[in-house]
C-alpha cells in the first residue's frame, strides 16, 4: 500500500492520541461520576471539600454569650430577644482577635426594617408596632430615645421622659 494513502490515517491517529493525552493531563484524577449518577453527579470530587473551607463569618449568638452573658441577660426578657446579636452588631468573624471590635449598626434604617409600619394584616408584619419613618422624628436616630436591648416605652432613655 502506498504512503500517500496511509499518511492521512497516521495524521488522524496522531490527533486522536494528542487529544487523549491532553485530556489525561488536563482533567483531574478525581473527576468522575459519583453518588447521584452520571446525570447529576459528574464532577471534580475535591470541589466539595473546597466549598467546606469557606470562612464562617456569622458565628451565632451562642458564641457571643461565652463572653457577653450580661448583654444576653439584658435582652433576654424583651421583645427583641429573638433577634440574633450579629444582625445589629455585625458578623463575628474571629472577634475579638480579628476584628478587635465590631461595627455596631445603630442606624435608623436598621430599625425600620421591621418597624416601618406596613398595613399587612395577613402577614406577621402587620402585627409589629410600627411607625411612618417619614413622619416619626425623621431626622433623629431611633437609639436617641429607644434602648434596643429593652425597647419597652417605660425603658425609654430618661432624658427623653423628663
Amino acid at each position: 500500500m502506498k504512503n500517500h494513502v496511509l499518511r492521512p490515517l497516521f495524521v488522524a491517529l496522531a490527533i486522536v492520541a494528542a487529544i487523549v493525552i491532553a485530556r489525561t493531563v488536563l482533567v483531574p484524577s478525581d473527576f468522575g461520576v459519583y453518588e447521584r449518577g452520571y446525570m447529576y453527579s459528574w464532577h471534580r470530587k475535591s470541589n466539595e471539600a473546597e466549598w467546606k473551607t469557606v470562612r464562617v463569618k456569622y458565628k451565632t449568638a451562642k458564641v457571643c454569650a461565652e463572653c457577653h452573658q450580661d448583654k444576653v441577660d439584658d435582652i433576654k426578657h424583651s421583645a427583641h430577644e429573638s433577634i440574633g446579636c450579629e444582625n445589629c452588631h455585625g458578623p463575628n468573624y474571629d472577634h475579638p482577635k480579628d476584628p478587635i471590635g465590631l461595627t455596631v449598626d445603630r442606624s435608623r434604617s436598621l430599625c425600620i426594617r421591621c418597624h416601618a409600619y406596613l398595613p399587612y394584616k395577613t402577614s406577621d408584619r402587620g402585627g409589629i408596632r410600627g411607625i411612618d419613618p417619614t413622619k416619626h422624628y425623621p431626622s433623629a436616630e431611633c437609639v436617641m430615645c429607644h434602648i434596643p436591648h429593652n425597647p419597652k416605652p417605660m425603658n425609654q432613655k430618661r432624658e427623653v421622659k423628663s
Binding site: H43, E48, V54, L118
Partner: protein
C-alpha cells in the same frame, strides 16, 4: 496499488473504529455501578419557609451576602424576599427592591418603569412576604444542562458550582426555572445558593436561618424522621414552587398562596 474492494474494506474498518465511543473501551467498574444506584446516605438537606412569619426585614439577605462573599452593593443575591400585595379587585403587585437587602420600609411597591405603586390599606386583600432561595431540586435542570460537569449534586442533595471548572456559558442560569442563578461579579462564573454548605456540613445552620428573628426559615434533614422540619413537611400542608416543571424542589413553603410564582 489498492483496488476499489480493498479501499472500501479498509475505509469501513477505519470508520467503524472511529465510531466506537471511548466509553466502550472503559473497563467495567463496580464502584461506579454502586455510585449510580440509589444512594443510601443519611442526609438530605431540605428547607422550610413559613410565609406567615416572614415580615420582610431582609436580615437573611444581608447575612447571606456577607457570609457568602457576594458583593454587597451589586444587584445580585443568592437569596431574596418578594413582597406580594393582592388587592380586592384581584390585581397582584410584586416587588423585591435590592432583593430586600435593606428590608421593606415603605408601602410603595416598586413597579419598574411604571413607577412606585401605593395600594391603600383598605384595598388590600392579602399582603405577605415570600423568601426565595435555591430549591436544591431532586432533578436539577441546571445540572443537566451543564456541558462541562462544573455544577453537580452532592450525596446530601445540595447543588454546588465548581468555580475552577465553570466556563461561564450561562446555560444553567437560563435553565433554572426559579432564577436563583447569576454570574458572580468577581469570579465571573455561575453562582447560586448552596445552603451555606460550609456551615451545614459542620453542624451549623445556614446564615439566613440564623439571621431570621422570626423562625420563618428553617433547614432540616429529610432522612431523619425525628427532625422537626421533616415532621412538619410530612404532617402539615406544605407546598413547593413550580411543581409542574418536574424538578422536585426541596424548599417547602407553609402559608402558600395561588399568586406566588
Amino acid at each position: 496499488m489498492m483496488n476499489r474492494r480493498e479501499f472500501c474494506k479498509k475505509a469501513l474498518i477505519v470508520v467503524g473504529g472511529m465510531a466506537l465511543p471511548l466509553t466502550a473501551l472503559e473497563v467495567f467498574n463496580p464502584k461506579r455501578l454502586l455510585a449510580e444506584k440509589d444512594d443510601k446516605g443519611k442526609v438530605r438537606w431540605v428547607f422550610l419557609v413559613d410565609t406567615q412569619k416572614c415580615v420582610g426585614c431582609g436580615f437573611c439577605v444581608k447575612a447571606c451576602k456577607i457570609e457568602n462573599e457576594v458583593p454587597y452593593d451589586a444587584n445580585v443575591t443568592r437569596t431574596w424576599v418578594e413582597r406580594y400585595v393582592i388587592t380586592k379587585d384581584g390585581k397582584t403587585y410584586i416587588d423585591s427592591p435590592k432583593g430586600a437587602r435593606d428590608g421593606f420600609v415603605t408601602p410603595q411597591i416598586d413597579q419598574n418603569h411604571q413607577g412606585m405603586k401605593e395600594v391603600k390599606p383598605e384595598e388590600i386583600n392579602k399582603a405577605f412576604f415570600v423568601p426565595k432561595l435555591c430549591n436544591q431540586c431532586e432533578n436539577p435542570p441546571c445540572v443537566q444542562v451543564c456541558p462541562v460537569g462544573a455544577t453537580y449534586q452532592t450525596a446530601d442533595g445540595v447543588v454546588l458550582v465548581d468555580r475552577k471548572w465553570c466556563i461561564g456559558c450561562g446555560y444553567c442560569i437560563m435553565g433554572c426555572p426559579y432564577s436563583v442563578r447569576f454570574f458572580h461579579p468577581v469570579y465571573h462564573v455561575a453562582e447560586k445558593c448552596n445552603f451555606c454548605y460550609h456551615r451545614i456540613t459542620q453542624g451549623m445552620k445556614t446564615a439566613c436561618v440564623d439571621a431570621c428573628p422570626f423562625g420563618a426559615r428553617r433547614i432540616g434533614n429529610l432522612k431523619d424522621p425525628d427532625d422537626p422540619v421533616t415532621k412538619i413537611i410530612m404532617t402539615e400542608r406544605v407546598n413547593v414552587l413550580k411543581e409542574e416543571y418536574g424538578t422536585k424542589p426541596q424548599v417547602f413553603y407553609l402559608g402558600f398562596s395561588l399568586e406566588v410564582k
